[in-house]
Symmetry: C2
Subunit: 256 residues, 2 copies
């Protein structure tokens, strides 16, 4: 039985303020819930249809307990337009970025990414390429909102997300690490010989990298548009740019 | 003055059925409308705020006439959550794919892409890379729905979109052209030496390339995941995969 208060509590987690107060977020659907259950994330509550419980007995151990609910009840707590068998309440991990991370690996830094779908997609890209750390500026969209969690397709379970004062962090980091920044004009990513560590900064969807962060960029890189293409799109979407840059870094890692 | 019937007519174009009946679609906002006005697309009606009209006098010639409306009136016809100065009604061009196109250039073929945002993003990517032709299977999402038009950020004005029986088309094409298909397992895109013409097939978001199209693929290609990465995302989003493949083709065009 789901009490009115429980429903109210769960639905409140759609709002960032209440996620912060409670230190919890919502993840939904068999794929995402199972990936979180198999990761270091702590699932504190699990609400599921009987058939999901029957088939995922081993996963439930992780949460300790699953409350079996009806389809109607799932509809009443789900944030999805098409609720999908299971809803988990998960603890938001406390993360603090340590500069030693960027001394041994490539870190994606997001300067005010605002679109939750873009952030989720970037998390999925990072996970594909084995990039385990994403630092977001404090004004970036919250990674634990439902749209981002769902768009990450479970990849949020394998990528560490940090919210930091990006200017302060890159100011310190730029003394030791390369800070690459994606711009419309810069050295072609295919001509750049990427370091094995440092930062890749991706800017805001509408405005790109902000002037105060631009000052801390040590290498401006850009994605070349089509050969012999006179008229072309003015820019690429932020997650698309991230994907193309990460793919090039990975190509160099594998083949060069 | 906007009559009730005019408002009803404009809003009906949010629905594919009425777009087909009228052969028209809606484009909104200064950037997209101006790119369409400067292209071969035919704008048949233009509704705009006074300040947009004052600043875009030269563009209006293309439509012949702009009806000046109030902010409230724009709100009543706009499909956007944040209406943006101008709304154009545009003719859907009649397109028929000719096989000679794929004999001289790379054509992106979409096998049941369903998400309008993905299609808009793919159109923007194609435009960035100077790929001027996208063939969609008939079950793919309609390119002239508002979400796709807006996500393309004006790129729809420079990319030809065709809806064709993909099986029939690729069956004919595969006798002369290379038909690349994006799979989770295939030759690494970085090891493939891409032809300058032919097709790149991208599959449906959930199911990938359908079995009947798979039979017509001459070269299976895949995007390698991160070096030494054991656990990683199961797949990449369809528009992300398209971007990474197009970037690699362009790299080979420029540098190899």
């Amino acid at each position: 039985m789901l009490s009115k208060n429980t429903i109210k509590y769960i639905r409140s987690l759609a709002i960032k303020k209440y996620r912060s107060i409670n230190g919890k977020f919502i993840a939904e659907g068999p794929k995402i819930v199972s990936e979180l259950a198999l990761s270091d994330y702590k699932i504190t509550e699990l609400f599921a249809l009987q058939n999901w419980v029957d088939e995922n007995f081993s996963l439930i151990g992780k949460a300790g307990f699953a409350e079996i609910i009806t389809t109607d009840q799932l509809n009443s707590i789900s944030l999805l337009s098409t609720p999908n068998q299971v809803l988990a309440i998960v603890e938001i991990p406390e993360t603090k970025f340590d500069l030693s991370i960027s001394e041994t690996s490539i870190v994606i830094a997001l300067d005010d990414i605002r679109d939750p779908g873009n952030l989720g997609t970037i998390i999925r890209i990072a996970d594909w390429y084995g990039m385990r750390h994403i630092v977001c500026s404090v004004k970036s969209v919250d990674a634990y909102n439902s749209k981002t969690v769902q768009a990450s397709m479970g990849s949020i379970s394998r990528v560490n997300i940090y919210y930091e004062d990006l200017r302060e962090l890159l100011n310190k980091a730029s003394q030791q690490n390369v800070v690459y920044g994606a711009f419309l004009k810069g050295n072609s990513i295919h001509e750049e010989s990427f370091a094995k560590n440092g930062f890749i900064v991706i800017g805001n969807e509408a405005n790109g990298i902000s002037p105060e962060i631009e000052k801390l960029i040590s290498k401006k890189i850009s994605i070349p548009f089509g050969k012999d293409t006179v008229l072309h799109a003015e820019s690429l979407n932020a997650s698309i740019a991230t994907a193309i840059i990460c793919a090039e870094i990975n190509r160099q890692n594998i083949y060069l």
